[in-house]
């Protein structure tokens, strides 16, 4: 569970980006954040992993093991099973699960917390001059001593994890290609594989499909949905298109001028009603431009 408590963000130049944000997100939810350009969507995502710090307020994650800063979340049993699979000597009696406020921690603890939280960017941000497999292995940096990551000597187990991740996003045949040779959709799949290798329990996606064509858009959205459903990864995605939110998300959160003005669970609701409600978020009726179109 993730909890924003009275979060405010004012940038050093005086721009107010978030105003008293209160929001609770359960594990496994797929939350689409909608709002006009400049509403504060990116700021909200980036405070979650503290790439941007908050001006005031708290961002709380439950069930974090304070020895390792590994997140166990709402479904403790499932995560323990996964840890046992990764490490046969894993001892669950040593777990010390607490609530952690990510805005209050620094240094190594913060980095450990971040390794639980994957991030997908509009322009992919993969390392273009490295191979696909090296990119996915970089998802393992926080699990290895620095010297290993500097030389790129990742253990065999990590290579297996990376290859499995590539397989899950159907791009294993590009394993040894240079990342710069891939298409946009393929680059985004490599980025998703990197988050899988990272063992992310939460995935922040900041306009993950904004630089892709419609066909690739649906493909990437399907992969995000798939890992969210299969692995129970909590997905928080800033989207520009209403139909993508309605199709793939389980919940829509509307942001306007830094405030949360709309919040709805999609299941069981009439999509037409939601589209009508979204006028509150956009301050205008929803038009054709707010849709990607038919798949």
């Amino acid at each position: 569970m993730i909890k924003f408590v009275n979060v405010n963000k004012t940038y050093p130049n005086g721009t107010v980006a978030l105003v008293d944000v209160n929001l609770e997100i359960q594990e496994g939810e797929f939350v689409a954040i909608l709002g006009l350009s400049g509403a504060g969507k990116s700021t909200m995502l980036r405070t979650l992993n503290q790439i941007i710090d908050v001006t005031s307020g708290n961002i709380i994650f439950n069930n974090v093991d304070v020895n390792t800063y590994e997140m166990y979340g709402d479904n403790i049993e499932k995560e323990i099973a996964r840890q046992k699979e990764l490490n046969p000597e894993f001892d669950e009696t040593k777990l010390n699960l607490k609530e952690i406020d990510i805005t209050k921690i620094k240094g190594k603890k913060l980095r450990k917390m971040r390794s639980n939280i994957g991030m997908i960017f509009q322009n992919f941000n993969i390392i273009k001059r490295m191979s696909v497999i090296q990119n996915v292995l970089s998802g393992r940096i926080s699990y290895n001593p620095t010297w290993r990551t500097i030389f790129g000597f990742f253990p065999k187990k990590d290579k297996e994890i990376a290859l499995q991740a590539l397989d899950r996003v159907d791009i294993i045949e590009k394993t040894y290609h240079r990342a710069s040779d891939l298409s946009g959709g393929q680059m985004q799949r490599v980025a998703i594989a990197r988050s899988l290798a990272q063992n992310a329990k939460i995935l922040l996606a900041d306009e993950p499909v904004a630089s892709l064509d419609p066909i690739t858009t649906f493909e990437v959205m399907r992969f995000l949905k798939k890992i969210s459903v299969e692995d129970g990864i909590t997905m928080i995605a800033n989207l520009h298109h209403v139909d993508l939110a309605l199709e793939y998300a389980t919940r829509i959160v509307g942001v306007k001028e830094g405030k949360i003005v709309y919040d709805i669970q999609i299941k069981g609701k009439n999509k037409k009603d939601i589209i009508k409600d979204l006028e509150i978020v956009y301050g205008r009726p929803i038009s054709h431009d707010d849709f990607v179109g038919e798949e």
Binding site: I51, F121, G139, S142, Q198
Partner: protein
């Protein structure tokens, strides 16, 4: 042209700025020439001495002496290689400290930059004479001078490249839980390495030329032969050194710049 279209055309920009810039530039050049005592008449009246000198230097070339040039020339190239290499080795970490997007401590960035610019303003020849007076005659002083000189050159260009990288890749590594070393290795190095190598090669090209004159102050290399033969007025030997050095510089520039072109 019809009236509707004519009315849409914006007024033609005046070119006063352009012409006044040209006049200003020429004014500066001419007045500098006058102040520094540059005179076309002097050139023309001394032209025959120049021709006589060229004649004694190159006609005929002193090929017999060529063998003796090779060794000091190789020493010069070695000095340039070693100087560029060590200069580059020191330059990278210092460039990282000067780059405001890697170390976010403004005063530290600024101090480092002042330090870099300080070294950049001292000519290699001056550095060489200083080191000769500290370490004595020989190529060691020359190598040190070239090291410092290339360090200044490479670190300035490298820190500017580091500041111009795509910061998104840095954010990606941060979001993976990466530390500063990880950021350096995965986000910065892949982006700036080709440029860094290119700058090092460029410094090497500059160093070859600089190294050729360092011998003048006793810092090793081919320059000391210039000094000896000029004072002995053996212009035919000076000529052959110039010719062979020219060939070597041309060749090295060609190889180095074709590598650089491939890198970036």
């Amino acid at each position: 042209m019809n009236q509707a279209l004519l009315s849409k055309i914006p007024p033609k920009p005046r070119r006063i700025k352009f012409y006044s810039t040209i006049i200003l530039v020429f004014g500066i050049i001419i007045s500098s020439a006058m102040f520094s005592g540059f005179s076309v008449i002097d050139i023309i009246s001394n032209l025959r001495f120049a021709f006589r000198l060229i004649d004694s230097m190159f006609f005929p070339p002193a090929w017999d002496y060529a063998d003796n040039v090779i060794k000091p020339l190789l020493q010069t190239v070695q000095m340039a290689i070693v100087g560029s290499f060590f200069g580059a080795v020191i330059a990278f970490p210092v460039a990282l400290i000067a780059a405001g997007n890697f170390i976010k401590i403004k005063w530290l960035n600024q101090i480092t930059r002042i330090f870099l610019n300080f070294f950049r303003t001292i000519p290699a020849l001056v550095l060489a004479s200083l080191f000769v007076s500290i370490f004595g005659l020989g190529s060691f002083a020359g190598i040190l001078a070239l090291t410092i000189f290339s360090f200044g050159l490479i670190s300035k260009m490298t820190y500017e490249s580091i500041e111009a990288i795509d910061y998104g890749q840095v954010e990606a590594i941060i979001s993976l839980g990466g530390n500063r070393f990880n950021i350096f290795r995965y986000a910065i190095l892949p982006q700036v390495l080709p440029q860094f190598i290119s700058y090092t090669l460029y410094a090497f090209e500059v160093n070859i030329r600089a190294a050729a004159v360092l011998g003048y102050v006793g810092a090793g290399g081919i320059g000391q032969y210039y000094e000896i033969f000029l004072s002995l007025r053996r212009f035919e030997f000076v000529g052959i050194i110039v010719m062979i050095s020219f060939g070597a510089v041309l060749l090295i520039d060609f190889i180095s710049s074709s590598i650089r072109r491939r890198l970036v």
